[in-house]
Symmetry: C2
Subunit: 554 residues, 2 copies
């Protein structure tokens, strides 16, 4: 699982310390160290929780950096890393649980209600910022004398720095206080991760010798194909798990089998997507949504509580692990040796600037466009919220690093000074944005949206805070009745453009049709809320309504 070729210095150190005398022992050492650091992160993170400036990611980053520093010093400056940042480890083991849990716990109603906006931000937005960042690099880098790159590199940079860090967002925004913002920023984060990974791969594939208008079209069609196939795959996997658990009466006795099946089916969807070069991120995200809508309701109450918290914990550990990882890797001397200090700083400055611009360039116009489609002013995305959406998405994280490594840190390539410079400046951008932007986000939100305003700003959300506290699956599915009241004609007539009325009417119709379809065909087949005839009534009665209360107080 871990690359042991880089930890010789640590090993030498431990031999000096008389801790080991055996090279087979490296993996054990790595694991021990990592687990210890993880525990430290959780404890510190808990102690700092009251602190408005800190959060788990930053704790992990700092802890990782300091460990790296210690190793660097104790190993006499030869290496800082306990283990190399390994994309495989990241993409195969760490990312799936995070994204799956995101889909599993996301408020489906919120998410689908804002689906249009999310896709706009997450797809069109990425293309915009991708264009701006690529063009910006192509324009600025020669002026900064940071070295010359091919067109492909510029485009890669564009894709790499269009990937926001959905992980950190989760820790900064609160799903209960600012549900609209959360679903927008976070939903965008997921779609956006997928988009930029897909975009990145598309760029890798194409040969820019004969660049033409066709290429852009190719990339776009390629992207659309991947987007829909991946989503379909995830949905199918989710439905399959629901069907299996429902028909095989797993609920009858085996809690373990239920949980195991859910975990493995979700992971399978990710893996199959990756196997066929689709977007595992999208697949597992939608698999999570489907599972929380159908499968979760077919299992025993025990399994519900367990899955809910076990998935959250898995994702929590993976997140912390990633930041620890990035922190440790950031001081890696191998990369810095080949990197040109001056140009690294210049480059990361330029990149940060472009990231700020690139995001501003799509958040504000697209939000304005979204508001056109919203009938009542109360449902508008107001300027304050737009600023927060812009800001919260500035953080760049592990996805950017993983892609940057993939592109610029090949064993051979990383020897070239330019590429080493790009890698090191990527790390600087990630560290800076995560710490500085991350630390500033909480206070910024409190400044721009004081609690009372938060409430106002979420008038568009019919649900009361206490209802917000409920977990997604306990909310009315996909569209609630209050919502319809909320959008009752009388209300909507008030200053609403024809276009917006039309679009909104359509959206409402789609929702209604979906709900009809869901109740008529899907639930009888795949189970789901309020449809659990296959479960042993004994257990059902015994558990009835016991957990609901509990689930709200997470």
């Amino acid at each position: 699982m871990m690359n042991t070729t880089y930890i010789a210095p640590l090993h030498a150190l431990l031999i000096k310390a008389g801790l080991t005398d055996d090279t087979d022992h490296l993996q054990v050492m790595e694991m021990t160290l990592f687990v210890t650091l993880l525990c430290a992160c959780f404890i510190l993170g808990h102690l700092f929780e009251e602190n408005r400036w800190m959060n788990e990611s930053i704790t992990a980053l700092v802890l990782g950096c300091s460990t790296g520093l210690i190793v660097l010093i104790s190993s006499g400056g030869t290496s800082s890393r306990i283990l190399e940042f390994d994309e495989e480890l990241f993409f195969i083991y760490l990312l799936p649980p995070i994204i799956f849990n995101a889909g599993f716990q996301v408020k489906k109603k919120q998410f689908f209600h804002n689906f249009g906006a999310i896709v706009l931000y997450g797809v069109l937005g990425v293309f915009i910022s991708f264009t701006i960042i690529s063009a910006g690099c192509w324009f600025l880098f020669p002026k900064l004398f940071v070295g010359n790159f091919e067109l492909k590199d510029y485009l890669a940079l564009g894709a790499i720095f269009s990937a926001t860090d959905s992980v950190c967002t989760l820790q900064v925004l609160s799903q209960d206080e600012t549900p609209l913002l959360y679903s927008l920023v976070f939903g965008e984060g997921v779609v956006n991760d997928a988009t930029s990974v897909v975009l990145y791969r598309a760029i890798q594939k194409f040969d820019f010798a004969e660049m033409s208008g066709q290429t852009a079209l190719h990339i776009l069609s390629d992207f659309l194909y991947l987007f829909f196939t991946s989503t379909a795959l995830g949905v199918v996997a989710g439905l399959l798990s629901a069907y299996i658990i429902k028909t095989l009466y797993f609920g009858r006795h085996s809690t373990n089998r239920e949980i195991a099946t859910m975990v493995l089916m979700a992971y399978l969807s990710y893996m199959i997507a990756e196997l066929f070069y689709l977007s595992g991120i999208l697949a597992v995200f939608f698999c999570g949504i489907v599972m929380s809508h159908y499968t979760w309701h077919n299992v025993t109450e025990r399994s519900r509580v367990t899955t809910k918290h076990a998935f959250a914990t898995m994702s929590f550990i993976a997140e912390t692990f990633i930041f620890l990882y990035v922190g440790m890797d950031s001081l890696d001397i191998q990369k810095w040796r080949f990197a040109n200090r001056r140009s690294s700083f210049a480059m990361s400055g330029a990149l940060l600037l472009l990231v700020l611009l690139g995001r501003a360039a799509f958040v504000f116009p697209l939000s304005a466009f979204c508001n056109l489609t919203r009938p009542t002013e109360s449902m508008f995305i107001n300027m304050r919220q737009q600023i927060i959406i812009w800001w919260a998405g500035l953080i760049r994280g592990a996805v950017s690093i993983a892609l940057a490594f993939n592109q610029f840190a090949e064993p051979g390539a990383s020897k070239s000074s330019e590429h080493a410079t790009i890698v090191s400046s990527t790390i600087m951008v990630v560290l800076f944005s995560t710490t500085v932007f991350g630390i500033m986000t909480k206070p910024l939100i409190n400044f721009i949206l004081p609690p009372q305003l938060q409430y106002v700003s979420d008038l568009s959300e019919p649900a009361t805070p206490q209802v917000m506290g409920l977990d997604p699956t306990l909310q009315l599915s996909l569209l609630s009745n209050e919502e319809q009241n909320n959008n009752s004609p009388t209300k909507m007539m008030r200053k609403a453009s024809r276009l917006s009325l039309l679009i909104h009417a359509q959206r409402t119709t789609i929702h209604r049709l979906w709900r009809k379809f869901d109740n008529a065909y899907m639930r009888p087949m795949f189970g789901g809320r309020g449809f659990v005839p296959t479960l042993p009534t004994a257990i059902e009665n015994e558990d009835n309504g016991m957990y609901e209360g509990k689930l709200t107080t997470t």
Copy 2:
């Protein structure tokens, strides 16, 4: 995490099938295949559950074998394995969750009540069977012309084949129907794994050029040192987790942190033990016991349900994975090519015989000795039970394979025909014992101990079946009041030898002292059942007694 050097054939196959064109993809393929097979195992295992002959392990073994066969055929007989059996993967990732969960879910009362017997079987027993198997091999192998080995190899074989498979036992015996047998066989299994691993390592360390009586003493003292340090380490880790969670008020809000801390602290105990060449198995087992006695009671009800089922599921997945793994590896052509068919069969026959003898040689005498220390006949381990204890421990599993690989399958060594033969016959013994013995165990138990007899045979267990159903932590700690009534002087006077009375009186005293100590010092410090003042009363009240009922119906 996975060794990708052996899957070229599969890869070639997949390229032929047009499934991939990229070698970075190997790991993804492995994972996909494995996860798919795991899902299949759970579903089949569930379907076959009613079937008295089947269980998950056998399903997994069969499935693994057939997959191996398919790959073997499709790859034109070049290789059967998707990935090599990797001891690191086994000892670092798969074994810890299984053993930890065992300690976490074991009935502490049962376990400690039979602690004397368990240690006798698990330690003295292993030494006896180790002696018999080593001597037997040393005597038989030359006669069978299966090649000549050094003394070290014979001793290694003795240690390797003294390790019973605690995993399979769990699936064959029921903790609720035959609690006494379960706690004896399973408790022995754990101690026995630890003993044989420790013994194996001790043998590796010693230089048998100057073999002497001293060596035996050395091994023994070495073993005692490892046994106590490992246990202490596990206990300390458990207490630490309890203390951290209690004092930091984790219960206050973060369920994720509680669960993460428990998992990681347990894993840490295993890792630290391995790091210092102690027995991680023992450490994590006792860590699990301590956690279920203290930590588990300091967390929120949500966390309790989650940990209980999440740990069980983790262990469940790991078990299935192991058997799948062994099944796949069993057909591995590399090993068979160098192995001498005839001598493999002869050797595995001899080994099976020695295993049968070696186990009989300690189960019956030691049981007889145990009965001496039991005052009332109702508490005796009767002959029927002894037979089952003997039989249930005959299964050899992944630990044996892991050790055999470690000893005889080094890249260089495995080329030698003798060593290849040993490895292949180890696999044959494991497959045979797991399938044949495993399949026969359930019916055997029903034949030797029909349900009504089971109840009689467990008269020594004061608890009623329904109490037995409760999870360990819900039972009265370590010694119950009923027990004391059960052993009231009047009862005990009836045909009880002086010795047994003395020993039993001492045991009771120890238990009573421990309970006093536990209530007076440990619980106030580390929390534990009925001592949770640090938890938010709100949650406590809301949850009161809700889960207890649920926990019983797993």
